[in-house]
Amino acid sequence: MSEMTIHLKIWRQARGAAKGNFETYTVEKVLPEMSFLETLDLLNEKLTRQGQQPVEFDSDCREGICGTCGLVIKGTAHGPNPKTTTCEVRMRHFRDGETITVEPFRAGPFPILKDLVVDRTAFDRIQQQGGFVSANTGSAPDGNAVPIPKIDADKAMDAASCIGCGACVAACPNASASLFVSAKISQLSYLPQGGPERGRRALLMIGQMDREGFGDCSNHGECEAVCPKEISIENIARMRREYFKGALGGHDRKAASGD
């Protein structure tokens, strides 16, 4: 296990400040099996001991499921490895002496709170518009009352795997949230339980996505490339169909007309 020296060129921005800048730090004794975030931990320990301000970043489960962490590492959201979140990136993918650029997920609708921490509550507001089935607790029929073909359940699960990290937005040249929004719309469109609210859901969620300032999808495919959970861009095509059907009144347009 050979120790490495790593240089980190990190975006620093004070809370509420309009401007930030890059600062470069050196971390010694980095082991190949360490995670990227543990390397940042090590840096923060060093900065704290030296009386400097540690670098703020978000993380929680550190096993790739909660969606809290999200850094642009060497120009790519969640780093150079496909199918991984930032917390799953290991240092063995970097070279001794390498300088690694670390930035927050940048997008207009994701304002920077401090250093590498961004505000992604825009995603919550989109969900609140229709990312649910209106089924109050206690109103449910037996779980096996409505059989669901395995293939539909599997496709719903593929879409439902989205962890809401926002890498798709950070990677998109238009800062579109289409992959995120389409994952939820697709999931519920594959399941009979999502049926009654399909049209309304698509119209309302997409309307909110626009109001939050996310851009349009122009089929670059960068979102799918960085998605740690392999959410397919096919979901965006499906979302468009759901939207048009909703807009043409194919589902339940009346219910959404208040928007």
Binding site: C61, Q128, N136, G164
Partner: protein, 639 residues
């Protein structure tokens, strides 16, 4: 004077208790519900489920979480599944059997009435989640699929690949989102509850720190629900998320809520072993892997050959040998301890010798690689990224890790703590799992408490009346906020030489070595002394950078570690007082000739609930006797 606690269990036959209790709980009329405000802290299955359901019913709900969005509560990380006594597999399952398995699995240290209610409610949870669009795994015929978990002989575990917790939590999050849009739930992300406010003896509010601005804020309500999860990170290295903490429940304890069975911790048998001192957490490998994986070590101590070079005859499949009836699917406490025994005997594998193999070769031979990949693919990928080895070809290396805490705030049958109006749900309470929790039962309890129990019992509390109007201008809020502010200013003022992590790491080592998988009197006494020293050192030498009025992760962690440094001592005291072995609590002095846990039902068939008597004072141990009227108490055996 030590008290005998009354759990307020409804009278009547076990099977009728909850139905009758629901009927007897007074109600609040629909038009009056919005006049009541309920604070819910936490947005996992228990907290988020309670907040959403209370919102649906029309109450005014204030919901808080430390995460940047409620969808990231730590329930999200549960992998394997959720139990329910549906008997869809026609293999003889029933409410009675789930009840029996859970009480036995908890080594006869849980409360019968609570467990029975849990088993009854389990079925409605599955129905509710399906209705909300949770994409559970299904068979080709379109029906729900099941698998097996440890400690049971039926298939009752519902799952969504290896991401069941995520999918259930996203169900909760969707219900919560709907209520936020409807205006019944007001959501406060990035807010950490730092203290509880009590007015006229009742829980009436909380003081929070806004984690973005650092501002201290006050919130008042008619009732407070804590659903803030467990305290495994007292061990520093655990499978929990790095922001999991005991702070909310610990602050409630210091305000008078009793803390029950703090020493009951679950060490999960199958986590990726520790690699080094830099590490920030341990990664769990789901119990579901033991459906198809076989645990083994070399028969000869010190055998350093590669696993593929060790012939079948020189391997010891130790769980299959010791527990032929349940084999690799014994409960977690048993599997974890068995692994430790093998490693302590020098048969552990890997660089450190603190690992055993979990081998899928037979499963791949029997089922094919595709089936194994379909069942566990995401776990295999996670393992490979961390260890840089392919578990399809080389057996996984695994070792036990702190995972779940059965202990928590003491609650009665209504999930109400000893502070009136303070309810505690999910892992934060102690109520359902006794001394050991069975796999796939945490999600079940979170959903049961959140969706079904809390909304009913909180309504009962509010309907009984007697709650005057209290606002955040009340002097009690000012006094509590002052205390919190002083505590956080004090952390910043130490300006010592060691980081928060240094202290947390040291505490974790003491807890793991002395209050971990095996405990004894001398070790526990040493632990208490050492923890006191560490706490003293912390308040004299910790270095917390930055300011209070800013985004300051180190300050957040400092507050949490300060509380862990107190809780750790109580855990050791509880373990010391419980002179028996039961479930996850193993006292080296108390075991059978075969090395199994030996309970002392005569002296310890009770819940121990500790009362805070002031800083520097010894806490007082109260008891709630446990009565088993519907189940025969036996020596737990999985042989």
């Amino acid at each position: 004077m030590s008290k005998i606690l009354d759990a307020k269990i409804p009278s009547g036959p076990l099977a009728d208790k909850w139905d009758r209790h629901e009927m007897e709980c007074p109600l609040v009329a629909p038009a009056n519900r919005r006049k009541f405000t309920v604070i819910v802290v936490g947005t996992g299955l228990a907290g988020g489920g309670a907040a959403a359901t209370l919102g649906e019913l029309g109450y005014n709900v204030l919901n808080f979480c430390v995460q940047d969005t409620p969808r990231r509560a730590h329930s999200v990380a549960a992998q394997g599944g959720i139990n329910a006594s549906k008997n869809y597999q026609n293999d003889g399952d029933s409410v009675e059997r789930l009840f029996y398995d859970t009480v036995k699995g908890g080594d006869y240290r849980s409360r019968e009435a609570n467990v029975y209610r849990l088993a009854q409610l389990s079925m409605g949870i599955i129905d509710q989640c399906v209705a909300m669009g949770v994409p559970f795994a299904r068979e080709y015929g379109g029906t729900l699929a099941n698998r097996s978990f440890g400690g049971v002989q039926v298939s009752r575990t519902f799952y969504a690949r290896g991401q069941t917790g995520q999918q259930l939590l996203l169900g909760v999050y969707s219900a919560l989102s709907r209520q936020i849009a409807a205006g019944t739930v007001k959501m406060f992300p990035r807010h950490e509850m730092l203290d509880l406010v009590i007015v006229d003896g009742k829980a009436r509010g909380i003081v929070c720190r806004d984690l973005v601005t650092g501002e201290m804020k006050r919130y008042a309500a008619d009732a407070v629900v804590l659903a803030t999860g467990g305290y495994s990170p007292v061990f520093y290295l655990s499978t929990n998320a790095v922001n999991c903490s005991a702070t909310s429940i610990w602050r409630a304890y210091k305000r008078g809520a009793l803390f029950a069975n703090p020493c009951y911790t679950q060490i999960h048998p199958t986590a990726i072993p520790q690699l080094g001192d830099y590490q920030s957490k341990l990664t769990l490998m789901s119990e579901s892997l033991r459906n198809d994986g076989r645990m083994w070590v070399p028969k000869a101590p010190g055998d350093k050959r590669r696993p593929a070079d060790i012939p079948e005859a020189e391997r010891d499949y130790f769980l299959e040998r010791r527990y032929p009836a349940f084999g690799n699917l014994v409960p977690r406490d048993i599997a974890a301890r068995a692994s430790k025994v093998e490693c302590d005997a020098g048969k552990g594998v890997g660089n450190t010798g603190f690992a055993v193999y979990l081998d899928f070769a037979d499963a791949i031979k029997r089922l094919g690689r595709d089936v194994v990949a379909d069942r566990y693919g995401n776990l295999f990928t996670m393992y490979e990224e961390i260890i840089a080895d392919d578990p399809y070809h080389t057996p996984m290396m695994i070792y036990p890790a702190p995972h779940y805490t059965m202990g928590g705030l003491w609650v009665d049958y209504n999930l109400e703590s000893t502070i009136p109006g303070l309810f505690v749900a999910g892992e934060a309470n102690f109520s359902d799992h006794g001394a050991n929790r069975l796999g796939a039962s945490a999600l079940m309890q979170g959903c049961a408490d959140g969706y079904f129990v809390v909304p009913r019992v909180v309504a009962g509390y509010l309907a009984r009346g007697g709650l005057g109007k209290v606002t955040t201008d009340h002097e009690a809020f000012g006094a509590v906020e002052d205390e919190v502010r002083k505590r956080y200013d004090a952390l910043l003022a130490v300006k010592g030489s060691r980081t928060v992590r240094d202290f947390h790491w040291d505490l974790g080592r003491v807890m793991w070595d002395k209050v971990g998988m095996s405990r004894d009197r001398a070790g526990l006494e040493q632990a208490i002394v050492r923890i006191r020293e560490l706490r003293e050192a912390f308040w004299h030498d910790v270095k917390v950078p930055g300011e209070a009025a800013d985004f300051n992760k180190q300050l957040e962690m400092a507050g949490r570690v300060a509380d862990f440094l107190e809780l750790g001592e109580l855990m050791a005291m509880d373990a010391l007082a419980r002179e028996e072995s039961c479930g996850g609590h193993f006292r080296a002095e108390h075991h059978t000739p075969e090395g199994e846990a030996r309970r002392d039902d005569e002296n310890f068939m009770h819940v121990a609930a500790w009362e805070h008597k002031g800083d520097g004072q010894a806490p007082e141990r109260h008891v709630e006797p446990l009565a088993y009227e519907n189940i025969e108490v036996k020596t737990r055996s999985y042989k």
